[in-house]
């Protein structure tokens, strides 16, 4: 169950004014998504819950500074959790046993577009643009996003020099940007 942008914005606004009930509702509506994302990156339930806890503390403290300029509410929340998860996984890299993923293609598993037409186009657009990329470069970019891999980790996974990985990532970024810019 997902709330609309407007509803989540309202909850964030009330959270900014210290409304703990609104904050709890925001947590209730969004925490499972954030935990799923964090868990995929840190690959440890307890660590992922810590990440989510810290993310919501940041939301509590930073709700007043949120504006739609910072993106849709869910985008903002996801970014906070993802950045925290990436920081944690970078710091713990040596001690974490990284597991291999199931090989599912994230583009194929991307959820059905939702009701809003603009979003539908956006989502479709990203799928189309990703589909136009070279297979390895696309996987590299997506594994970075989903699993929080560093350039060095990607270098090992793709048996490719770090500098080439960096080139791939930047080339993918430029291709996506220009492809999506046409929308």
């Amino acid at each position: 169950m997902r709330l609309s942008t407007v509803d989540l914005s309202a909850l964030i606004g009330r959270t900014a004014r210290g409304d703990q009930a609104a904050f709890q509702e925001l947590y209730g509506q969004t925490s499972a998504k954030l935990l799923g994302i964090a868990l995929r990156i840190v690959k440890d339930r307890a660590v992922a819950e810590d990440v989510v806890q810290e993310a919501y503390l940041k939301v509590w403290q930073g709700a007043a500074s949120y504006s739609l300029e910072a993106g849709r509410p869910m985008t903002w929340l996801i970014s906070i959790a993802r950045y925290r998860a990436i920081d944690v996984v970078r710091a713990r890299r040596e001690t974490l046993a990284r597991t291999h993923e199931d090989g599912l293609d994230p583009v194929e598993t991307m959820a059905e577009p939702r009701d809003r037409e603009a979003e539908f186009i956006e989502r479709n657009r990203l799928s189309i643009c990703l589909g136009q990329l070279d297979e390895s470069q696309r996987r590299c970019f997506l594994e970075a996003y989903y699993d929080g891999y560093s350039r060095e980790e990607l270098s090992q996974r793709f048996a490719t020099p770090v500098n080439t990985i960096k080139t791939w990532l930047h080339r993918t970024a430029a291709a996506l940007r220009s492809c999506m810019g046409e929308a």
Binding site: G18, S31, L39, M74, S79, I86, A91, L126, F141, G181
Partner: protein
């Protein structure tokens, strides 16, 4: 955004968003973000572009204790924000040494008990130049260890209460009030744990000037009427630290 208007570091912004940089590079980039609003817009644009990717991640329901842990951490932040530099030197304040505690747990039900309270108005030491002051209330007990230390950060709109030696009767909550002559008391929140952090009700920061702080004994969870219902066990008048 037109295709030719991208920031020269846009590819770096994309890498920051997907998260492939090492920690040091991330910190450097974040520092640059604070000085470069165009770069920040690049990051926001990448977050929005890649947002649909998150749809593919299955939600995982957190355990029930995660919310409790978040609430505890919210309360704990009050203590963390209370840096050593802001701890009041009680010995320097004669008013506190003159205070008398008549707190008696056994006598609670019989009516109001008062302890001396002094409230200090201190300049905000964190961000000089901001007009709004930080208020520190010390709720004292017989000139010994203060019962409560209340810090009101008007700028952040926060009330932080450290219970140092306050006694809470079993199965009751202590509730903090600001009281001004001719006005109804306004709740500032509960004194729940050793450190409590609450958010000032909107618009109430300015009403704290010349207010009295009172602590009442209430049913668990606080007064249900919006006004103090139980005995007031600590009260005190605001005084300014600076002459």
């Amino acid at each position: 955004m037109s295709a030719d208007a991208f920031h020269p570091r846009d590819a770096e912004a994309a890498e920051y968003v997907i998260g492939t940089m090492d920690i040091a590079a991330r910190r450097t980039f974040e520092h640059d973000l604070t000085n470069d609003s165009a770069l920040l817009r690049s990051v926001r644009a990448w977050e929005a572009r890649l947002d649909p990717l998150a749809d593919a991640v299955a939600p995982v329901e957190p355990g029930a204790d995660l919310w409790s842990a978040i609430q505890r951490a919210m309360a704990g932040q009050g203590g963390a924000r209370e840096s050593g530099a802001e701890v009041v030197d009680f010995a320097r304040h004669a008013a506190l040494r003159r205070s008398r505690s008549i707190w008696r747990g056994a006598a609670l039900a019989s009516g109001a008990l008062a302890a001396m309270l002094a409230l200090y108005v201190a300049a905000d030491r964190v961000i000089p130049g901001l007009a709004q002051p930080t208020l520190v209330a010390v709720v004292n007990r017989s000139g010994e260890l203060p019962a409560l230390l209340v810090r009101i950060d008007a700028r952040a709109g926060l009330v932080q209460v450290r219970a140092l030696a306050a006694e809470t009767p079993p199965d009751r909550s202590l509730e903090l009030w600001s009281v001004r002559a001719g006005e109804a008391p306004r709740s500032l929140g509960l004194v729940e744990t050793s450190v409590t952090r609450a958010v000032l009700p909107a618009g109430s920061a300015s009403l704290l000037q010349n207010a009295t702080i009172a602590v009442s004994v209430e049913p668990p969870g606080g007064s249900r009427t919006g006004l103090p219902t139980g005995p007031v066990v600590y009260t005190g008048k605001l005084v300014s630290e600076t002459p």
